[in-house]
């Protein structure tokens, strides 16, 4: 705990900027060169993002001027009549990602807490290694799994059960085809979990030991001490969830294979849908005509904006949750 207070305020000293001695002659100091080099590398990130934004906005210009804000509220996607609207894809992206996060959060957090707090270290390390292995599986493999393993199981087991028992909800109405929003949500949840688990585990492990020790010393049970740890790690865990959400929002290949690819908005999770990334992957190569191509690029722009909004919200959430406790939030 004491370490934190020591780092919280910058200590003025010989290394702090602003207090270095005047330059000797005209030669730039190695320090300055180093600083400039690193600053330009960091600046490159801004330049790349700015360039992406500029190029997408430029490509989307014909579509923006043709449809305006209606692009975001229209459900039409008709390449023949050249009428385009992004709402079904916006909806599909948000719903599939939210579903994925809802499924992955309990799984990911539970696993991470077990690995960090309860499992013997050797078992924890072994499982963590396997989890990281999961993260490196190409997304097309997840997609094939979704089509050939998950879809038949959904069609014959889960979806008929949902229709029979929860069919009174609009969420679970329709035919059990195995392909659709629910399949995409589960595949995404599996893909997002490794990120969630390994980040959450790292965050929990990085908490000072003294935190748990003091909780136990004050008479907390094991469960209560874990509660204290989670509370302390909350901003970091939130950050991990947002990184997972980011992956779900942008995931393309696996989702394209299992979501069903239609531009209809349906309340039912059993129905097919489409996401912004999947429609771009599907239609970009065969998009003929300037407006069609431009509408697809505008979808990319909307996806970019959505990612920015989600990340900004995440930052706000982290700030709201931490107040001034910036040190742990740094993990996000």
């Amino acid at each position: 705990m004491s370490r934190r207070f020591a780092l919280a305020a910058p200590v003025p000293g010989p290394l702090a900027r602003g207090s270095r001695p005047a330059r000797a002659g005209w030669l730039p100091r190695a320090d300055d060169l180093y600083h400039a080099l690193l600053a330009s590398l960091a600046g490159l990130v801004f330049a790349v993002v700015a360039l992406i934004l500029f190029e997408t906005a430029r490509g989307a210009a014909p579509s923006i001027s043709a449809f305006g804000w209606k692009f975001l509220t229209s459900t039409a996607w008709d390449p023949v009549a050249e009428r385009f609207g992004a709402l079904p894809y916006l909806y599909g992206t948000v719903v599939s990602s939210a579903l994925a996060l809802a499924l992955a959060l309990p799984l990911g957090l539970g696993t991470a807490i077990f690995l960090a707090e309860l499992a013997p270290p050797r078992l924890g390390n072994a499982v963590a290694f396997l989890v990281e292995l999961l993260a490196s599986i190409p997304s097309i493999v997840y997609g094939i799994w979704g089509v050939f393993v998950l879809a038949p199981w959904l069609r014959t087991a889960l979806e008929p059960w949902l229709i029979a028992h929860l069919g009174f909800l609009p969420l679970f109405q329709g035919f059990p085809f195995g392909i659709g929003m629910i399949n995409a949500g589960i595949v995404l949840a599996v893909m997002v979990s490794p990120t969630l688990i390994s980040l959450s585990r790292e965050i929990l492990l990085s908490l000072p030991r003294s935190l748990r020790e003091s909780a136990l010393a004050l008479g907390a049970t094991r469960a209560e001490s874990i509660g204290v740890m989670i509370d302390a790690a909350r901003p970091g865990l939130l950050g991990a969830a947002i990184l997972g959400l980011g992956r779900a929002l942008g995931e393309t290949m696996a989702v394209t294979m299992v979501i069903g690819n239609t531009n209809r908005i349906s309340a039912s999770l059993l129905a097919p849908g489409a996401t912004m990334a999947s429609v771009i992957a599907n239609e970009f190569t065969e998009a003929t005509g300037t407006l069609y191509l431009s509408a697809l690029i505008e979808i990319a722009l909307v996806l970019f904006a959505l990612t920015v909004v989600v990340n900004a919200l995440a930052r706000l959430l982290v700030y709201a949750a931490t107040g001034s406790r910036r040190d742990i939030a740094g993990a996000a």
């Binding site: 190029e55 039409a76 996607w77 008709d78 390449p79 023949v80 009549a81 089509v147 050939f148 879809a151 038949p152 069609r155 035919f175 085809f177 195995g178 392909i179 659709g180 394209t256 294979m257 069903g260 690819n261 239609t262 531009n263 097919p272 489409a274 999947s278 992957a281 599907n282 239609e283 190569t285 065969e286 998009a287 003929t288």
Partner: protein, 352 residues
């Protein structure tokens, strides 16, 4: 930006290949093309055989008809390939005059998955439209039963499956539906991708076929060659003459032959929904797109020689891959168009 990088890649490829191959026989010209995925099996076979024969390497990227047309427009390839002929308006958008060279014909088959149904599914044009419109939703519907008299249809829900990616296969299929159904033409239309009123989409022929295999009650359209190689059961479709016809090489060739006269006038004439009694109705031609006036005489000559080979000797290879060969009248039109090719204003094939 995109055009530039592709041009750069094309230049790099053109420069690197001869270097990699070492001294090539007779200073062979390497050609680049891009476009349709539908004829890719036959095209790659052609390029392979032609390379063995002449040493000319043809780099073809099956990036889709739409992208192929874009590349032709940008002038980054020697030829484009498209399953959809360019409309008059699209031709006007091109910087210079573009010629269409039909190469082969192909059929689109309706593959289905109906456990408990033995025999061959028969569909009328009205049924195909209604299934893809989503107005008929179960297999034991009265209208399906009427077309399949004597068979008992399962009570399973129908899942119509379409291509989620833009494709020439979709263009052939929706062109057919627009021809047979005015309502489809008005509400949906024909294109490489359309706004589907019902069903789910799979990516690529393999995606559609995978969904059909996976889903009892599923029906999806795929290239005939693809359906055959994967031994999917395919539906017979009633043609204009009133016969239920199995999609096959013979029935596709019958459709192409029946359109010979119209094609001689304009190679872009549709061949779907043919009046010939044995013709399978859902089919189309695929085209190479070439600028009439070429820039580089040597490359242009190599390209013209290749097309000349493809429309004559190459045709024999088509049938092995379930593509229909061109009728004699269309070959004649192609020959006439080859003679129209020029390089820098001078005729290319005048000597021949």
């Amino acid at each position: 930006m995109k055009t530039y990088s592709i041009r750069l890649a094309a230049v790099a490829a053109a420069c690197a290949l001869p270097a990699l191959l070492g001294p090539s026989p007779a200073r062979a010209q390497n050609l680049t093309g891009a476009g349709a995925t539908f004829p890719y099996p036959i095209y790659s076979k052609w390029f392979d055989v032609y390379h063995e024969k002449t040493g000319i390497q043809i780099n073809y990227q099956s990036i889709g008809s739409g992208a192929g047309i874009q590349q032709v427009k940008a002038g980054t390839v020697d030829f484009g390939a498209s399953d959809a002929a360019l409309s008059n308006e699209r031709l006007k958008e091109m910087p210079r005059r573009v010629l269409h060279f039909p190469t082969v014909g192909g059929a689109v088959a309706l593959a289905y998955n109906l456990p408990g149904f033995n025999g061959t599914l028969k569909l009328t044009p009205e049924l195909v439209t209604a299934i893809y419109m989503g107005t008929i939703t179960t297999w034991n519907d009265k209208q399906i039963a009427a077309a399949n008299a004597g068979a008992t249809m399962p009570a399973a829900p129908i899942l119509p499956i379409h291509r989620s990616d833009g494709s020439g296969t979709t263009n052939i299929f929706t062109t057919y539906l627009s021809l047979v159904n005015p309502q489809w033409k008005e509400l949906v239309g024909a294109n490489t991708s359309v706004s589907w009123p019902a069903g789910v989409g799979g990516k690529g022929n393999e995606g559609v076929a995978g969904l059909v295999r996976q889903t009892p009650g599923g029906i999806g359209y795929v290239e005939l060659a693809y359906a055959k190689q994967n031994q999917l059961p395919v539906a017979q479709v009633r043609n204009k003459a009133g016969n239920f016809v199995q999609p096959s090489l013979a029935s596709t060739t019958a459709a192409v032959d029946a359109a010979a006269a119209a094609l001689a006038k304009d190679v872009r004439a549709p061949i779907a929904n043919s009046i010939a009694p044995q013709a399978y109705p859902i089919c189309g031609l695929t085209y190479l797109l070439v600028y009439q006036d070429q820039k580089d005489p040597a490359r242009a000559r190599a390209l013209a020689n290749f097309i000349d080979w493809a429309i004559h000797d190459g045709q024999a290879l088509a049938e092995g891959l379930d593509y229909a060969r061109l009728p004699e009248s269309v070959v004649k039109v192609n020959e006439a168009n080859l003679h129209k090719l020029t390089a820098g204003g001078k005729p290319l094939m005048a000597a021949e």
